[in-house]
Each structure stands twice: as C-alpha cells, then as structure tokens.
Subunit: 111 residues, 2 copies
DNA sequence: TCCCTGTTTCGATGGATGTCGATACAGACG
DNA sequence: CGTCTGTATCGACATCCATCGAAACAGGGA
C-alpha cells in the first residue's frame, strides 16, 4: 500500500475512517517497540542526519539479524529510508512522515 | 508505572534512553492498532470532548468485550481516562499525553 | 579468484496479543 | 429485592511478533 495519502487533519477534527486508520496504524505500531523507538531516535539525532547500521548494532544487546529486522519494520512503515554506500548501509528518517504523525496528534491549540 | 515523567525533547535532540523509550513505547503501541486508533479519534473528535462506550461499540463489527479491552489498553497507556456516570461510562482523551507525543515527533523546525 | 566483513534473509520457537463467549459487576427501575 | 441493561473481567484459542542461529548476499581487498 503506497502511503501517498495526503496529510492528516488532527484527530480532533473528524473520526478516522477505517482505511485511514489502517494506513496510519503501522507507523505507530513500528514506534510501539522500545528498541525500534530508540533506533529511530538514534538515527534522527545522529550527526549528519544519517546513521550507519554498524553504529546501531553495538548500542543494543541484540543480535545483528534482530536489529536488521527492526530497521526493516521502520523502513516498511515509511519512517526511515536506507541507502547502501559501499560496504555500509546508512539510514535516515523520513521527516514528512514524522511531521504527519505529529500533526495528527496536535489537538487544536486553543479552543 | 506512573507516567509522571517530565516531558520529552524531540527525537532529534538526543538518543532516547532505554527507560524513556520503555515508557513511551506503550503509547505508540496502543495507537498501533487500527481499531484503537479509531476509538481514540472517535473520543477526541466527539462533541463535548467525551464519548460514551455505548456510542463506540456500535461503530465496529466487534464484540463488547473486545471494545472494552481496547479501551483498557488506551487507558493504561494514559491516552484516555474513563468516568462512570450512572449507568454509562464516558471516556475522554488526555490532552497532555497526546501533546507529549506530538512534541516528541516534532523535528527541529529549521536546522 | 578467494576470503573477509557488513548486512539481510530464512526457519524455528517462545511469548505477546486480538478476538470471542461466558460470566461477573454496577447502577437504574419496578 | 429481583431484573434488566451497560460495562468489565475471565478463560480459551488462533494468530502475530521479537528473537535467535544458520545461511545467503554485497562489496572490498589480498
């Protein structure tokens, strides 16, 4: 499913339709795992806006395949993008997707 | 676990610590289920800022216990609060929690 | 070419989770 | 008090998911 949907009115606007909810949920689900949330944070806060997988694996007491799996989930949720440069693979966040979620949760500033 | 933690600097600020991530993940996990995301949206967008369970059950093709279970997950994640008034139970969102998440995902406006 | 390292995929497994029916609890009303 | 309705809990079950080791793939160098 291509997440090329236009953006999101806040939750408070109108009830989320079934399809919209089904499209948004995977993003939250991806961030709903502590390791993945930390991975996302590590990538987002990394200098240069990107982080090498080789730098991420060492942070956790988890096997390489497990880290790779979590990165795949984040990638398929559209939250990060990966690029191979030579031997190493670099990941960076997808800012528009994070902004989309942030906007969704923005309750009306002042009622 | 009391979610009385201080607020959140954006993801881009510094890497999320293990505890902070463990505290935040349940919120995302709760919203990572389409039915729960719609429930949250239904409550958030409902007139008066609160919604009766009796109005929520009919929206979905799911049993009462299942809806009750999802509301419990949202409640335990701190995203909604419930109050019984007579026969019916009313739920409303916890604005500060949603704002917390929204802020967390707010990437620095301009780098 | 062969090997070495970094990363991903595969297959298996134990534990978490969404769903249901049955049941229990809470409050209103005769 | 008994009963009816709305909501929550319980127990069970099927499915999903995080994790691992083994193996495959990618690229760089000897």
């Amino acid at each position: 499913m291509t997440p090329s949907d236009e953006c999101c009115s806040p939750l408070t606007g109108e009830p989320l339709g079934e399809e919209r909810a089904a499209a948004l949920a995977p993003m939250f689900k991806a961030m709903g795992e502590p390791v993945r949330l930390r991975l996302l944070s590590l990538i987002a806060s990394h200098q240069g806006g990107e982080a090498c997988v080789c730098e991420l694996t060492g942070v956790f007491d988890l096997s390489g395949p497990t880290i790779s799996h979590h990165l795949k989930v984040l990638r398929e949720a559209g939250l990060i993008t990966g690029e191979r440069r030579g031997t190493w693979v670099y990941y960076r966040v997808a800012p528009e997707r994070l902004a989309q979620v942030s906007t969704l949760l923005d309750l009306a500033p002042a009622t």
